[in-house]
Symmetry: C2
Subunit: 350 residues, 2 copies
Amino acid sequence: MRYAEVSKAERIRIYDVARVAGVSVATASKALNDTGRMTEATRMRVKQTAAALGFRPNAMARALTRQRSFTVGLLTNDTYGRFTLPVMAGINEALVDQGVSVFLCGIEDDATLARTHVDAMLDKQVDGIIATGKRIDRRLPVDLSNLPVPVVYAFTQGPEDAVTLVSDDDQGARAAISHLLALGRRRLVHVTGPESFASAQNRAKAFRDLAGEGAPILHGDWSEAWGHAAVARLWAEAGVFDAVFCGNDQIARGVVDALRERGLVVPRDVAVIGFDNWEIVSAATRPPLTTIDMNLKELGREAGRLILELAEGKTVEPGVRTLPCRLVMRQSCGGATGAVRAEGEALQEV
Amino acid sequence: MRYAEVSKAERIRIYDVARVAGVSVATASKALNDTGRMTEATRMRVKQTAAALGFRPNAMARALTRQRSFTVGLLTNDTYGRFTLPVMAGINEALVDQGVSVFLCGIEDDATLARTHVDAMLDKQVDGIIATGKRIDRRLPVDLSNLPVPVVYAFTQGPEDAVTLVSDDDQGARAAISHLLALGRRRLVHVTGPESFASAQNRAKAFRDLAGEGAPILHGDWSEAWGHAAVARLWAEAGVFDAVFCGNDQIARGVVDALRERGLVVPRDVAVIGFDNWEIVSAATRPPLTTIDMNLKELGREAGRLILELAEGKTVEPGVRTLPCRLVMRQSCGGATGAVRAEGEALQEV
DNA sequence: TTGAAAGCGCTAACAC
DNA sequence: GTGTTAGCGCTTTCAA
C-alpha cells in the first residue's frame, strides 16, 4: 500500500517552513495567519516557502489551541429520505469554502444511537450541530438543549428558544392554489396526507382560505394509492371539479393516473398540481407535474450560514425562520408550459 | 444562548479526574485506556471518578498524540442519488460503534471542489477515505492514489491496485432471469439502459447466456418513458413474449404501465422483473415490482470495515470485491407472493 | 519587527 | 504499581 510509505514522516510542519524561511515558528505562524506585525517582505517570504514546500497546517493541532475545530455535526433521522438530501447538499455548500467539514450522523429513530453520535461529535469538539429530520413537526429523539455548542434546527422541530428553519407551507400552498385560480379554474379540490401532519394542516388551511368553504378536502396517506382512491371517491361523491391541489407529488401522480384511466385529460379537463418537486415522481408523471419546490437546498445553505455565525460567537435571533417555496411549472396545469410541449418530455436520468 | 455559559470552562479534563482520584495524569490515562499495569483497585477508582465527573476525553488532543483521529472521509459525487444513500448508511453503521466519525463530502462532478474536500480531510487528519459514486464504471474527478492515507472505493471505479467494492451485476441478473425461468417463462426479453454503462452490459450478457441468442435485448435510457417506448416497439416488431427483465425499476414501471394500457395482465400474461429495488418506484408500481436489490447498505458496511482495517495498519488484499445481490419478491412475476395478494398492496409511506 | 517559551489536553517512554 | 517528563503541531502572550 503506497500510503504507508509516504506517511506522516514526510508531512511537513510549520517548523520546517520556519527553518527554510529563516524565521522562528512564531513568526511563521503569524505570517501565515496574517496576524501579528512584521515586514511585508518577511510575511511574503514565509508564505512563499510554505507554498513551495506544500505546507498544510495540521487542523487538529490548530484546533487544540484555538478552541475551534472547524467541524460541525449534522444529525438526521432521515438517512434514506428525500428531504434531508438537498438540505445536506446546501449545508455542505455553505460550509465547504469556509473550510468547515461536516460530520454526518444518521440516527434513524434510535435515541441511544443519537446520544452516541452526539457524544462522539462533542468529543471531537464540533463547533456546532445542525439537526435535521424528515418531518417539520416532530423532534429528533434526543435532547439538544444545554449542549456546550450551538444548535440549529432545519426541517425538524426544535425547542421554543432555538434557531429553527422551516419551509413555508402556507405560502407554498397559496402559490399552488393561486396558480390554479389564475388559470381560470374555479372548482378546486384538495387531496392530501394525514391530518396529523402539520404540513397537511397548514396546506389545507391555505386551501380553505383561498378555495372557499365548500371546496372538498380529502385526507389520506401520502401515497400514489391514495391518489387513486381519492379520485374514485370524488367520482362517486363529489360534484364536478376542474382542478386538484395535491399534498405531495406521489398523491398527485396517483390522481393523474386515475383521472386518465377514467378518460379525463390532464390538464384540459382537470388541472393537477403537486407538492415537493421530487423529480423521480414529478418528472415521470404523464404529463409531468407542475408542483411546489420547498427550496430545501437553500434552507440547508441558510442553516450552514447560521451555525457558522453562532460558532463564531455572533448573536443570532432565536425563533422559527420560514423560507419561501417556489412554483415549478411543468405540464399538469396547462398554462404557458403546457401549451408548448405536449407529452413525452425527456426524463432526466436520475 | 445557553451553550455560551456552559462552555469549555466547565469541560473537565483528565487532569481533574486524576486530581480527584488522587493519582497522576499518567496513571489516569492508563487506567482509562486499559493500558499499563496497576492494581485493579486504582483502575476502578479512576474509572469511577471519571464516570462520576462525566469525563469525556478530548478527541483532538488524543488524536494529536496517537496519530489517529478516528475520523474518515466519505467522498461522493452522488449527493442526490439513490445509490450512495444506502451505502452511506452502511458505512456509518459499521463505523459508529468503533467511535469513528464520518466527514461527508459531496463533490458533484467538480474536480476543484473535490480537491478542496480532499485537502480539507487530509488537514483534518482523517484515518482513511472512502470514495463512492453513482456509477460503477466511472471514476471520481480526482486522483486519490498516493495519498498519505488508505482509500477504499465503493460503487465507483478505482485504480487497478486499489481496494474496490462493487455489487455483482452478473449474479443479480442471473438471479432475476433464473427466477423468470423457474416460473416457467420461456420467451424472455430484456429492456435496459444505454450500452455505454457497464451495468447494462453485464446484465445483458447474463441475459444472453441464460435466455439464449434469440432473446431480444433493447437498449434505451434508464427512464420510465423508455419502458413505455420499448413495449411499443416490442408490440410492433417482436414475437410474443411472456417475461421482461428490466435494467432498472423505472424501466420496469414503464413496461408494466404500458402493458396494462394494452390490456395485458401482469403477471398473468407477462411477468416483469426490475433491478435496484428503489422502493419509491418498485413499491408504487401496480402490481408492485419483483426486483433485484443490490445490498448497497451491506456494501457500505463492508467498505467501513475495510477502511478501518487499513487504518489500523492491517493488510488488505487489493482488487475488486464483488458483493451479491438479492431477489426481492413482490407481485409482478406472480409466484408465491403474487398468488396471495392480488392488487392494492398497502404502499409504505416513503 | 522578531523570537523564546508556555501552553491546548492527552499519551507513552522511562524512571522510581 | 505509580509518577515524571517529554512531546504531538500549532498559536499566542510577552519579552527582547
